[in-house]
Assembly symmetry: C2
Homo-oligomer: 368 residues x 2
Amino acid sequence: MSAPRFEVLRIATSGARLGRLTLAHGVVETPAFMPVATHGSVKGLTPAQLDEVGATIVLSNAYHLAQRPGVEVVRALGGVHGLMGWSRPILTDSGGFQVMSLAGLVRVDDDGVRYRSHVDGRQGFLRPEDAVAVQEVLGVDIAMSLDECVPASASPAAVARAVARTSAWAARGLAVRRRDDMALFGIVQGGFDAALRVESATALLAMPFDGYAVGGLSVGEPGEETARVAAETLRLLPAHVPRYMMGMGTPRDLITFAGLGYDLFDCVLPTRNGRNGMLFTREGRLMIRNARHARDPRPLDESCTCYACTNFSRGALRHLVMAREMLAAQLATLHNLHFYLRLMREIREDLAAGTFPARAREAAGAWA
Amino acid sequence: MSAPRFEVLRIATSGARLGRLTLAHGVVETPAFMPVATHGSVKGLTPAQLDEVGATIVLSNAYHLAQRPGVEVVRALGGVHGLMGWSRPILTDSGGFQVMSLAGLVRVDDDGVRYRSHVDGRQGFLRPEDAVAVQEVLGVDIAMSLDECVPASASPAAVARAVARTSAWAARGLAVRRRDDMALFGIVQGGFDAALRVESATALLAMPFDGYAVGGLSVGEPGEETARVAAETLRLLPAHVPRYMMGMGTPRDLITFAGLGYDLFDCVLPTRNGRNGMLFTREGRLMIRNARHARDPRPLDESCTCYACTNFSRGALRHLVMAREMLAAQLATLHNLHFYLRLMREIREDLAAGTFPARAREAAGAWA
């Protein structure tokens, strides 16, 4: 297999770009949104349905998969693609975010992350070298370097220490890399301190990563802070590689940050909110449990062509939610991902036509 | 719309027959198995997936739908077909089985069934006239007459009383029937007493039903009793109408009772067991949680062509079960229904070719 390749096809005056990312398992047109499949499954959808709604790459999590079912099991089952029944590209995060979100279960030192498994209680130790090796065994298309992600409330000293560790870990991971068909991305940390973001980016840019991500956002900060750091950090990143904004966002965020020049996004919003009965529509959020939808024969979103909207009414979906039928989560997830992936397609079509973000705004409706 | 029609195309020496049931929403080749969609959804599958695995008719429950979302809501949403997003035939049971299984919540007298809703605690009263009217509003293809179903442990007097009530209710329901595009089936009761089965069948056969069901089986009795009553009752039923064996069964049961001459079946086994990690395969039952499947790269059933078997290994499905991913239930349900519906197709192909039950036995494998 050949090495991963990224081409920038067109750049808008805003800085937004249309790109093509060629990976071991296929081509991803960018800007792209990655549905979240933390444990190896986008909750509620078969891979065939994922394909049907337009997903070209999904996000999984090497830290979780290494705990369950375990790296050797995944290898025996044909790698993460075999495990997931998904033949297109897969990106895995390596565990930096879990270091933060499972804080009670982990302890970080310069060598790596000591954790107690939330699955079986066993002690584990994840070093940056392991993170790269694990992702190579999993057979992912894009691996993430092990980083230390800190919450918005972290002290300046903690943020500075996380930046230093993230840089040191990045170099250690790169040093043990063996597969040249797997892209490896570095993650810029630095919290909300512009100087630390510069320090982090400078260190990582000196290393031969295939792409760069902005981490440590969406960790409890106000939206203006997210936007400021996203814009400041983007200016530090090279233009010829993919730029990935981790954990974002709302439909408006996607237009905003694709507009700045980010290429990749992931977020649990469309899937998690779908399971909770919140639908993304052009008119804004629709809370399907609301009694006013009970007799409403209209589709969830009148402009939508997804399977849920062409076969089910608001009233029908509300019934399935109230009756606690699994199909409710399946349909809501399918619709929400269709909404997100249509938006990304409109962004790309706008960029190709030189009209960005006209059609994307229309696709996002009230969210724009 | 024209009236329902049933044609017997071929009869085997065993009594098994190949038939064609033409209903308001389409044609059902018989013998047919109806997946169970009690609350308006086959748990875990979209209607498109149901269609893909070969379902031509599904079973829902008028008693449950009348409680939630309510008959007027279903009407507003385009009837039960609109509610379910399913355009092919639908049969509804009317509540007789619930009279038994929700015994603490219902009280039966000669007039009908008084119940306390398990949804909102409200008192309700279901008379046989209501059962027919409700199913007409729902717009089902086949409605069931309201019956009184009693458990295997019922006293002879209780069984006799249930037979008398079921006959009286049958006449009352037929008397208020208005739609001639909806088939209406009577249900033979009588427990495990041959004389009472004769009494029940005699009374119902004098009424202009479009088909007959055998009820009151699979209610806690030994398998030999089921088989005896199924065979005895079948001989009482006319040959020119569909004969429906309610609540059955295992793959072996389907071959056995289709072999006797039953035309329609329903059962929760493939769906409920699928959600609990039990798979129907040619080699017999496969409990996917078992640790020995963890690294097994083989499909669930090596002879199976379903989406789950062509895209997922035993190890992958086990991982999804252990990680409590919704997709596990979806895939297991899809596979099990594919297994059941393939078996029914083989039964029909055997009947058409005059080779019944050769290929069906092969399709059922260890279950035959």
